[in-house]
């Protein structure tokens, strides 16, 4: 797998590069801001781009805007945005469009290298990735008489994995269930929550996140 890295901190960039290289992932390009990144992507066409959400010049959500630009130009390039913020609005902003593989992970996730490589692998397969901590926070949210109360524990677990961006097959692997069983759970969850069933990829994640955020 070939990866391009964008982070304005040289320390983090170098550290990440070495850790990824150790894990057998080739870092083919590095950039310190969104403009450099766009150029590097054009030149090297990596499989996945890892971009910090805050980059020069405004240090706000350059990473998300860069993701939209890159995917618009290169639909086959996946983008993983590393963020400091446990806020669903940022993730939803990243998942706004349906095409392309996008991931929203908390930046501390780089300290758990297995989580990071797992996310990279999923993105390379075209899946969507949302940080479990963000999903967890949304699920833990206090609610009054919500349809969520009507979910079984198993369904709840399925829902959280859906929110993290896992496919039915991914959920099946994670829960040691047959894909057919997972499909049933997913259908039940969507029915109970009143969400339409024809969701694919980003859009299913987006709908679930938006639902959970309500």
């Amino acid at each position: 797998m070939r990866v391009a890295l964008a982070d304005d901190s040289l320390l983090v960039r170098e550290g990440l590069k070495r850790v990824l290289t150790d894990a057998g992932i080739e870092v083919c390009a590095e950039a310190s801001d969104a403009a450099e990144l766009a150029e590097a992507v054009d030149r090297h066409l990596p499989d996945v781009v890892i971009a910090d959400i805050r980059m020069p010049p405004t240090f706000t959500d350059e990473g998300i805007r860069a993701a939209h630009t890159i995917i618009a130009r290169h639909p086959r390039v996946a983008v993983l945005v590393l963020s400091q913020y446990v806020d669903a609005d940022y993730a939803l902003a990243l998942l706004e469009d349906d095409d392309g593989a996008r991931g929203y992970l908390l930046k501390d996730r780089v300290l758990r290298i297995a989580d990071l490589t797992d996310a990279l692998a999923r993105l390379e397969r075209g899946e969507t990735v949302v940080d479990p901590e963000l999903v967890d926070q949304l699920l833990r949210r206090a609610r009054v008489a919500s349809p969520l109360d009507g979910l079984t524990d198993r369904e709840r677990h399925v829902l959280s994995l859906m929110a993290e961006g896992l496919t039915d097959r991914g959920i099946a692997e994670r829960l040691w269930l047959s894909p057919k069983t997972v499909e049933t759970h997913v259908r039940h969850v969507l029915q109970k929550l009143g969400l339409p069933e024809d969701h694919t990829r980003n859009r299913r994640v987006q709908a679930v996140l938006a639902y959970l955020q309500r």
Binding site: R18, F59, Q84, V86, D89, L106, L111, A142
Partner: protein, 568 residues
């Protein structure tokens, strides 16, 4: 008044009417029927001389009074023609109508008495040229020298030409006068019209009458004023208008008494309106001087930059002793009535001082308010900077450190060391996530990036009590969003701490230029903004933006905290 002036007074006052009577006497003594214009002439010249003298007395530096008096005298000279004396006839003939030239001069120079612009000086000088034409007409007149002592040059053709020149010249002069005075009327402001109106209108009528009279003469070919009466009436109206104006300004000064009563009865902040009424200048402005320095403020305490004095505006400073307390910006026309302004200044003295102290207080309040707003802004931007430093400095370094530890762990072979490194990594991960939460507490980035609604949703999702978020409208200015955020955060924290609520609700909307940010719960109520520093601090923060914080919390009915912040 100098002895010379007094003598002039006496001579004019006595000589004027006497001369008219004397002239009329000439007709009567010689058995000629009295002129039909006699009563008018007598009235006009007496009125003109009298009002001229009064004006002169009041405003010696203004030439208007003098000119009016001179016009009155000249009026009387025409009458001496009847004395069957060739010299009297000649002089009378020469000066016949010359009063109109002086009247034209004074009306064109009105109200300053000076012909400011060069073109006006040329015009009036050319007007006096008509007097020379009259003299030449007398000299070339087709009359024997025993009747007209000046008839030294028998030239009937030239006389006819001169007479035409005189008529056409007078007509043109009158027409130009209409244009000048008409324009002056149109350009005058409200109070200027009130002051100058009577004279300007009389002048307009006069010029119009003369112009029409010249046309009538050209058609009918008669003596001036005999066929067409209005010019005579118009001449009478001029001194009447002057007297009317004088009487009115006396009345205006009586109104000053009412002004004092009015100011006593009404509260602070009404001085400007009262002065505007008393001085008949709706656009009048009052500026109050601050104790320290030369700055002026209005009654609300807002800084007021005094305008530059120009053709329309003048500034009168009012004070007690040497101290200038206030500046009144008014229409320049009011300077025509210095006594009125003086009376007003004297009358409002004490009230003005009160009003000034009031304005000064408001100004200080405003300065304080601005400085509070600045402090809050500074504090907010400091928080933002701190949050940034934590994210982009400390956190990045910790992450780099963690990555290095991770690599190190992959390289050590000793199991115990690897275990220790793994523990260190765990600690570090916890530190990073704690730092993240700390930074969020200092200033939530989502507030600046995505706005108050998104930040409120995140706050709601972290609350232990279910919170419904209702948002209507878009983003507010950053300062408003920041204040709103802290209101919501503090109110939600209170809900969790004290309210024993089953649910809460955040509502964010905009109404009538106000950002309304409301947090309500169904808890026990009884919250008090004076209890603890939380709500009081919020009230300060909202107050710094000229907003207000309302806390409704009767026991048993839940608590509603609402910030209303101007956001237009």
């Amino acid at each position: 008044m100098t002895p010379r002036a007094r003598l002039a007074w006496f001579v004019l006052l006595v000589a004027g009417p006497a001369f008219v009577v004397f002239g009329e006497l000439g007709f009567w003594l010689n058995g000629i029927a009295p002129r039909e214009t006699f009563p008018l002439d007598l009235g006009v010249s007496s009125l003109a001389i009298a009002s001229g003298l009064v004006l002169w007395r009041l405003r010696p530096e203004n030439r208007t009074g003098l000119l009016l008096g001179v016009a009155g005298i000249l009026w009387t000279i025409g009458g001496i023609r009847a004395y069957r004396n060739a010299w009297a006839f000649g002089v009378g003939q020469c000066f016949d109508g010359s009063q109109d030239l002086v009247l034209a001069h004074l009306l064109i120079a009105y109200p300053s008495g000076r012909l400011g612009h060069r073109s006006l000086r040329v015009l009036v000088t050319a007007g006096y040229g008509l007097f020379v034409v009259g003299v030449l007409e007398t000299i070339t007149m087709d009359l024997p020298r025993r009747v007209n002592a000046f008839a030294v040059w028998h030239a009937p053709a030239l006389h006819g030409t001169l007479s035409t020149i005189g008529s056409v010249g007078a007509g043109m002069y009158a027409t130009t006068g209409i244009a000048i005075i008409g324009r002056r009327w149109l350009r005058a402001g409200y109070s200027r019209r009130r002051v100058l109106g009577p004279v300007l209108l009389a002048a307009l009528f006069f010029a119009l009458a003369v112009a029409v009279d010249e046309v009538v003469q050209a058609i009918v070919g008669s003596e001036p004023g005999i066929v067409f009466f209005p010019p005579l009436v118009a001449r009478l109206l001029i001194p009447v208008a002057f007297l009317f104006g004088l009487a009115r300004s006396r009345l205006d000064r009586l109104v000053v008494g009412d002004l004092v009563l009015e100011l006593d009865a009404s509260g602070a902040g009404t001085m400007q309106a009262a002065l505007a009424r008393a001085l008949h200048d709706p656009g009048l402005q009052v500026g109050y001087r601050l104790d320290d320095g030369d700055e002026f403020v209005d009654s609300e305490g807002e800084p007021l930059v005094l305008p530059v004095e120009d053709a329309d505006h003048a500034i009168t400073y009012v004070g007690r002793g040497d101290a200038q307390l206030a500046a009144i910006v008014h229409e320049r026309a009011l300077l025509e009535q210095p006594s009125l302004i003086e009376a007003v200044s004297a009358a409002v003295g004490l009230a003005l001082d009160n009003e000034r102290l009031h304005a000064q207080l408001r100004n200080q309040l405003q300065v304080l308010r601005a400085s509070r707003a600045r402090l809050v802004r500074t504090a907010d931007s400091e928080r933002r900077r701190l949050e940034r430093d934590l994210h982009d400095g400390a956190q990045q370094r910790l992450l780099a450190l963690g990555l290095a530890l991770n690599m190190l762990r992959a390289r050590v072979e000793d199991a115990e060391s690897a275990q220790l490194l793994a523990e260190a990594e765990e600690e570090l991960a916890t530190a990073v996530s704690e730092l993240r939460e700390l930074a969020r507490g200092i200033h939530p980035a989502i507030l600046t990036d995505q706005g108050l609604a998104a930040a409120a949703r995140t706050l709601a999702s972290r609350s232990a009590v279910p919170v419904e978020v209702v948002v209507n409208g878009g983003r507010f200015p950053p300062a408003v969003e920041t204040a709103g955020y802290y209101v919501i955060a503090e109110a939600l924290a209170n809900v969790m701490r004290y309210a024993h609520a089953g649910r809460a609700r955040i509502e964010i909307r905009e109404a009538a230029g106000l950002a309304l940010i409301e947090v309500s719960d169904d808890g026990v109520g009884g919250a008090d903004s004076r209890r603890g520093t939380g709500l009081a601090g919020l009230a300060d923060r909202v107050g710094a933006l000229d907003g207000r914080l309302v806390v409704e919390s009767a026991a048993g009915t839940g608590t509603t905290v609402r910030a209303e912040i101007p956001c237009a």
